[in-house]
Symmetry: C3
Subunit: 344 residues, 3 copies
């Protein structure tokens, strides 16, 4: 690994430097364990006590913390963002190595840009376009009539079903599935019958889809994922959902069918929303919370129950189930006291 | 795409027609966005206001809504079911194209019906039978001693482990896993030891298994999924479970080991059940609810906490943890007032 | 299947035998359905009533139940553990069949021990070592610079990304993903930017990873899974987590980033923990419970709400949202009664 001088980094990202601009960093490190050729950062104040003793060659910090850095301080307004960009200089994302791997099976009616990298044992269906500099990981299967945009990277063992249109610079992690049938069933006299799912999926630019996340195709019109959406692992997006631009979701979130989320929303891990809802821009849902009705007002919404000592929790749950009765008993007392007061 | 006349559809599915029976539909559309060659439907009353302005050539509706259809009204008792069937005429499910794809590795002791379609890079183990008109998607791996029934379709990148018996006309979506080891461990002096999982999985006819859903093999006897069961994405069915016929589950449901569900149950998204339970036929579990004891009575059971303003939720949670104390304080007041009353 | 005498089993695992030591067992069975050549066991007292009528040739039981066994009683201190070991004699885990399957693509810079079994269509990247007697299932993809330890078995369609170090005798089930990028994003002026994820994953010996479980690589330092950890299906382990030795998790658990779990913890199905927490050894989290703060004391913690009749639950939820007000009303009454008392 070749290094880069902190002076170069500071100039490139417009940071003030306190210390020797010739110091070279080769890798990234945590404050606690960085070695003397590493770049580190301080973004979370709870790690501030580690600053004094860090061995890191340079630390990206906010103005107020600069004096506490033992090595070179790289002063930035947003240390985490600046660190992210500098770390990407040291660890650039993989670049497509043009060519087709052994065992890949590409339909004669598919179009693959010669600059794209097609991994071993990939399968690509008819009518599908793989654009310039795209990377398709080993074992990934892409159906028919899809488009994989410029420089988009699919990890190994991803499955893209039919009619999935994906923009540029997306990243799809391993075992993710995009374009599987929505869960559309109608009850018939002899059991459930499948409702054809013919809408595809339209995904914008710069979208991330986590490992083992599933995004269903729409029933009639496409499921839509806006530009810049970031989805973590094990998420389920049902058919007909519309996810607004730059909305993010942590792992294990579930969004039920036909729900529309605004832009710049954030869903904590394990949270979710029931179907046919509309949620405005700028809504934050904390971990494990379930949205069950429309949200018209930006803000932060919660619903989790923190862990408790098991016995205390069980007592609380037992009371919870009597809550309506408890409230009625309370009201009865209030009424009685009111009467008492009036008669006094 | 060739079209079909609404007259033909009406005759085929026994519907009354109001309008020109020669009108041809070629595709399906939503009321809002259907074009003039599209078939639409109205099933959810909240979309009724869209009826007057739809451009759809024909709309499947209930009797009461027929007069409001601007184009041809196809009158049906159950508009959604009838729409589903008509949509399947316009969008028939894929049919097996007999043959074996490039890179497929079929064990010499496997039996594959010549009418089956085996995708590229599929792997099939010894003792496994693939029946007539089955479709095995690219990259799918099937272990030993399995049976894939007639016209059953496995999507790409599915994994079927050993001893999985699957009926006819099933659909398994991408990245699903059937027959993985159940989570059977016994604590030994030096750590957890694996308990051999030797039961297989027996799946009936017309079963759907969603993308990234996992169904474990039984510990000793097989895990059983009844005819007509429909499972959405990201569901976990533990070892030894028995799922009754025509039971349905939305995404992210978890059913713990050795639990038996009746027929015609419905589990909402993210709901679940703990292990070793017995649940009768006809039980509906709403989204995110957790079943923790046997259910002997058909009906609807809930458990979700709707999202709330974060601060209000946090206040409620704080009080929830005091609930037993609050209830005791309430009882103390009641007792005191009772005494007061007696002494008056 | 060749059998083994119960005498041999008793000697091998140090059990007392009551009955004919020459009886041969060939398979395992449940008490209810075992046939006359089957070995069964009784560990869960709720199945004791099945003992009298079992057709099993032999039953592993605790001392107190030995007299009730109709066939041979194999008396063990821990019947479940002893059964597990005897069942493993009858059903030994699969052994590597050395060789490389058709369609496997192994990078010239990978090292594969000649005793390892590489399934069909496997892909192995440069710098990766596959150690002796390892088994790599069909369609599995392993990235660069990984190590798969001795006798570790990967099921089909597993994805191991780059820089994953895995110990001996592990089992990874189908569709699991290890080493995918952590969910590291920083907000920039035009949207979220990816923070490079360069830590790998270090997994100890004897670890099980369930089907469709995902374990993310660390952001800077590796995510760590201790020796003997057992993870069920559909679990998400975020970047930088440290999971202590012999900790177990049932299905659908989510552990958010940078959380450290102690040794010998147990997480019930669907439970989880938020990020940046520290949890000591010996903590038990019951199903569906969410840990939201550090746990310093070993013990059992809960948080689930059992299912309830839907209407009663809805009434309780409505009251729950008024809980702070109800508590204030109660306090007001108490205050008033106190004043009343003082004035009497």
């Amino acid at each position: 690994m070749t290094g880069v001088s902190v002076g170069d980094l500071a100039v490139r990202f417009g940071c003030e430097l306190r210390g020797d601009s010739g110091v070279v960093v080769e890798t990234v490190g945590t404050l606690a364990n960085a070695h003397e050729r590493a770049l580190s950062f301080l973004a979370n104040p709870s790690y501030r006590h580690l600053l004094a003793s860090t061995a890191a060659a340079a630390v990206v910090v906010a103005e107020d913390d600069a004096d506490a850095v033992p090595g070179v301080a790289i002063v930035a307004k947003d240390p985490y963002l600046t660190y992210a960009r500098m770390a990407a200089v040291l660890n650039p994302p993989p670049v497509a190595r043009p060519g087709v791997g052994a065992g890949a099976v590409i339909d004669s009616k598919a179009e693959v840009d010669p600059s794209a990298e097609i991994g071993p044992n990939v399968v690509i269906g008819p009518g599908t376009h793989i654009e310039a500099h795209a990377v398709i990981g080993a074992g990934t299967v892409i159906g028919r009539d899809c488009r994989i945009g410029k420089a988009t990277r699919l990890a190994p063992n991803v499955t893209i079903m039919d009619a999935v249109i994906m923009g540029a610079r997306c990243v799809v992690h391993a075992a993710a599935v995009i374009g599987s049938d929505g869960f559309g069933i109608a009850r018939g006299p002899r059991g459930w019958e499948r409702v054809p799912q013919v809408g595809g999926v339209i995904i914008g630019d710069d979208v991330d889809v986590g490992a083992s996340t599933t995004i269903d195709r729409g029933a009639i019109e496409p499921t839509r994922i806006g530009n810049g959406v970031k989805l973590d692992n094990q998420i389920q997006i049902d058919h007909n959902c519309v996810i607004g631009e730059h909305t993010v979701m942590a792992g294990l979130v579930g969004i039920a069918g036909s729900t529309t989320l605004g832009a710049n929303c954030a869903f904590g891990g394990g949270s979710g929303a029931t179907g046919h809802l509309s949620i405005v821009d700028g809504v934050i849902i904390t971990a494990r919370c379930t949205v069950t009705s429309d949200i018209d007002t930006p803000g932060t919404y919660g619903g989790v129950f923190p862990h408790d000592d098991l016995r205390n929790h069980q007592r609380s749950v037992a009371r919870f189930r009597q809550l309506d009765k408890l409230a009625r008993r309370l009201a009865a007392i209030e009424k009685r006291l009111k009467q008492q007061e009036n008669t006094e």
